[in-house]
């Protein structure tokens, strides 16, 4: 019911949805969110994601389990990549399944808001001239706080 993976390799949204649907007909709503590497100014060469291997999977499992309990999800998949990625590449996938769309939508947003503020990942942007760590945003904390 809950699948969490933290890996270097890319994921396939279609395959992951199929895995959640396998052998069940009680699902009425499937929501997916995919986060990708964005290059706003045309200068980004790559994005490197560092993480705390021991803690990330555990933290994502806790967030996923909270979402399942809070919205009675039928299934939930969270996949987060690490390593060096190119602009346009996938970073994170969240899929939620539920009988109705409201719960699936809300749960996916909840998972992303918590993931962005508590899962131990750090982004470093590399351009032709330098590399800089991405600063955390206050708006991410505010987005998380609306759920409490």
């Amino acid at each position: 019911m809950l699948t969490v993976r933290v890996e270097i390799d890319d994921f396939n949204q279609g395959q992951e949805i199929a895995a959640l649907q396998k052998k069940r007909t009680d699902i009425g709503a499937i929501v997916t969110f995919t986060g990708t590497v964005r290059d706003m100014t045309g200068t980004l060469t790559s994005l490197t994601l560092e993480h705390y291997p021991g803690m990330t999977k555990r933290e994502l499992e806790r967030i996923g389990q909270d979402a399942i309990t809070r919205w009675n999800l039928l299934g939930c998949t969270i996949i987060h990549r690490y390593g060096t990625l190119k602009p346009g590449e996938n970073i994170v996938l969240v899929i939620t399944t539920a009988p109705h769309r409201g719960d699936a939508f809300k749960a996916a947003e909840y998972i992303m808001d918590y993931l962005k503020t508590s899962a131990p990942f750090w982004k470093k942007e590399t351009t032709k001239t330098d590399s800089t760590w991405v600063d955390a945003k206050d708006t991410d904390d505010q987005a998380k706080d609306r759920w409490s």
């Binding site: 993480h51 994170v92 899962a119």
Partner: protein, 83 residues
């Protein structure tokens, strides 16, 4: 105790992991920050802005007043930016 550093804290300190014996004066995360900050320029730079320091004890988020023991794995890192 095992201490881990991530992202720009790791870069400023110059290592991602070290093991040290807990000094007698250290009882909490705050005490440990105070102690580590005195260990050299890199440490001082890493711990300079208190607002930007997050900590975990044995892979769970911790606060400044969380107690630490010599058997713990402590991690220090900046605010997270995944997703």
């Amino acid at each position: 105790m095992k201490i881990l550093y991530f992202a720009w804290m790791r870069e400023r300190i110059g290592t991602g992991e070290e093991t040290l014996t807990k000094p007698e004066t250290v009882h909490t995360i705050q005490d440990l920050i105070t102690y580590l900050s005195t260990r050299g320029e890199g440490y001082a730079a890493a711990f300079e802005v208190h607002m930007l320091i997050r900590a975990a004890i044995n892979e769970e988020h911790a606060t400044l007043d969380s107690p630490v023991t010599d058997q713990d794995e402590i991690a220090f890192f900046p605010p997270v930016t995944g997703g």
